[in-house]
């Protein structure tokens, strides 16, 4: 019996083994049906595309990655920027940023409003934000479609009040996607904002007013710096799903106004270019990772809220 086999050590080793045994089913499922396939996709992005979708296995090619931003002229092999893909990347970034800013502009006052209600009423208001959050995203997108269509409420009101003589075409434009994403992701902004505003100590605000600060100064110099972690958390929670949005642009953008999610689908469907689709997916994933890393670094440095 060696010295390392003391009863304490044996018990410790058994404990470690039990911990791994207990967590292994969950780890295994996530690995098999979520993480593992990502590595397979990475491999696919470096293979030659098959003639009818899929890939030619083990035939190495960088055409997939090349095609993300460039295209080769079929006649004289000259390189050009893939305008269509670049346009879609830029549209995705632009619409995601705008969605984040608009939800912040609406969400900040809303969270402030909820945080300043009497304690018992706050739960009710938060619950009202939570319900849309848990209802099906497709149903909410469809609801938005009905509101902005040419015969919908907005256009009916615009025409009835004489602001415009004819319905304004909103559906199937970038505006429709922007409205839809703002609508769908708004609760994701309000909830973390509220979580940090709820902890706001209003004696600090009062002190500000006592020292002759006006409302805007109090907002800018006291409230915003304190709730900044919530603003950043909310922005990340809205920006990331916006960037990878698929349902909202598909239903409201009407096929022509694609975002990255739809571009990826196209490559795996009618485009029959799986390596390109895989490369675009990985690019999207990297963009999301970068956004998350920026958040983690910022949240770490400012000693902000702890997220479990």
């Amino acid at each position: 019996m060696s010295a390392s086999d003391t009863p304490a050590r044996i018990a410790q080793r058994q404990k470690t083994r039990n911990r791994w045994l207990l967590s292994s089913p969950a780890l295994l499922i996530v690995f098999v049906a979520a993480i593992g396939p990502l590595f397979v996709m990475l491999a696919y992005s470096f293979m030659a595309k098959g003639d009818y979708g899929g890939v030619k296995p083990w035939e190495f090619s960088t055409d997939g990655w090349f095609g993300v931003f460039f295209s080769r002229d079929i006649f004289d092999d000259t390189l050009t920027i893939a305008d269509a893909n670049v346009t879609i990347f830029l549209r995705s970034l632009r619409l995601s940023l705008l969605t984040t800013l608009i939800t912040l502009a609406i969400g900040f006052p809303t969270a402030f409003f909820i945080a300043t209600r009497p304690a018992r009423m706050r739960d009710v208001w938060v619950f009202l934000i939570t319900i849309p959050f848990w209802t099906n995203i497709l149903i909410r997108t469809f609801a938005m479609q009905e509101v902005i269509r040419n015969e919908g409420i907005i256009n009916t009101v615009l025409v009835a009040t004489g602001i415009t003589s004819e319905p304004v075409q909103i559906l199937y434009t970038d505006w429709a996607i922007l409205f839809g994403m703002t609508y769908v992701y708004l609760p994701l902004m309000v909830l973390p904002l509220y979580a940090s505003m709820e902890k706001l100590d209003f004696r600090l605000v009062e002190a500000g007013y006592d020292l002759y600060a006006n409302r805007i100064q109090v907002l800018r110099r006291i409230i915003i710096p304190i709730v900044k972690p919530g603003m950043i958390a909310g922005s990340i929670l809205v920006f990331i799903p916006s960037l990878g949005a698929y349902v909202t642009p598909r239903v409201l953008g009407g096929g022509k106004n694609m975002m990255l999610g739809n571009l990826i689908e196209l490559q795996f469907g009618a485009g029959r270019n799986w390596p390109l689709g895989a490369a675009i997916s990985i690019t999207l994933m990297v963009l999301v990772m970068v956004a998350l890393l920026v958040y983690v670094r910022y949240a770490g440095r400012s000693g902000g809220q702890h997220h479990g």
């Binding site: 470690t16 911990r19 791994w20 045994l21 207990l22 967590s23 089913p25 969950a26 780890l27 499922i29 996530v30 098999v32 049906a33 979520a34 993480i35 396939p37 990502l38 996709m41 899929g54 502009a105 609406i106 006052p109 809303t110 402030f112 409003f113 909820i114 009202l128 939570t130 319900i131 848990w134 209802t135 099906n136 995203i137 497709l138 149903i139 469809f142 009905e146 509101v147 609508y183 708004l186 609760p187 605000v205 009062e206 907002l219 799903p241 960037l243 990878g244 698929y246 349902v247 999610g261 990826i264 689908e265 799986w274 689709g277 895989a278 997916s281 999207l284 994933m285 990772m289 479990g308």
Partner: protein, 266 residues
């Protein structure tokens, strides 16, 4: 009081908040109202009727899709909840240890990756497996749903476990309870609200999923959300509103139940 200076207001904020709540609920309200329209249109009101609910309920495609959605959600949420409970027991209330942050990272991974990326990655792998094995059943959808349900089941269970006092289990051990007895008689009953909350969350998440299901499903495996997505391409009648309304009512019911279960403190 009314004339005193209120430090808890900012000009215009209440107005924007009112707009926010109206904007969140108005589109849903319109959708629900038109489910009761007597006419064919989802824009022109022609009187109250339940005809579209009858149409939807007697549509076999809707019945099959709804049943399939529930079957997948029951399996995925049950497996995810059991796996997540075990994982929570192994990752909570024992300080940090080597491998703990690895476990956190893996368990939360489905939350970090855009759904469309996971969806096409699964399409790649499962389409291969379908060719190799010839099996095209619901197993693929259940596996995919279980994976993304795990973090949602895990979070409330872990939160509940962390708030529990381990002195109770220690007392059970002092009274000669075996580890299994202590778990069965002390830990599990105390953990039950967390497990129920985790299950309900996972169930709703599975039921709502569109993107991953759309890419993983084999032919003829429509769930209610993918069926609706397909219908939106065509001329839309209030039948879709009726389906959406029933779906909505069901989800809201589960969310309300979740709130009550989750609120009950030890």
């Amino acid at each position: 009081m009314a004339r005193s200076f209120d430090v808890k207001t900012q000009p215009g904020f209440a107005l924007i908040a009112a707009f926010c709540f109206a904007a969140l609920y108005l589109p849903i309200a319109v959708l629900v109202i038109y489910a009761f329209n007597a006419g064919e249109s989802i824009a022109v009101w022609e009187g109250f009727s339940l005809r579209w609910f009858v149409t939807a309920m007697s549509n076999t495609a809707v019945q099959e899709a709804a049943l399939r959605s529930v079957v997948i959600a029951v399996f995925a949420a049950s497996i995810a909840t059991v796996a997540a409970t075990m994982a929570a027991l192994a990752t909570t209330r024992q300080g940090t240890y080597p491998g703990l942050s690895f476990k956190y990272a893996v368990l939360n991974q489905p939350l970090m990756i855009p759904e469309i990326v996971t969806a096409v990655a699964l399409l790649i792998v499962f389409s291969r497996i379908k060719v190799w094995t010839g099996y095209t059943g619901l197993g693929y959808l259940i596996a995919a749903h279980t994976a993304f349900c795990i973090p949602f089941a895990y979070l409330p269970i872990r939160a509940r476990l962390e708030s529990m006092d381990s002195a109770l289990e220690a007392a059970a051990a002092d009274l000669y309870a075996s580890p299994w007895q202590a778990f069965r008689r002390i830990t599990l009953p105390l953990l039950k609200p967390g497990i129920m909350a985790g299950f309900m969350l996972a169930f709703v998440i599975s039921l709502d999923d569109v993107v991953i299901t759309e890419f993983v499903k084999s032919g003829g495996q429509e769930t209610l959300p993918t069926y609706m997505l397909g219908q939106l391409r065509r001329v839309v009648t209030p039948e879709i509103n009726a389906i959406a309304t029933v779906f909505l009512a069901f989800s809201v019911l589960i969310v309300i139940m979740f709130f009550f279960v989750n609120r009950r403190k030890a």
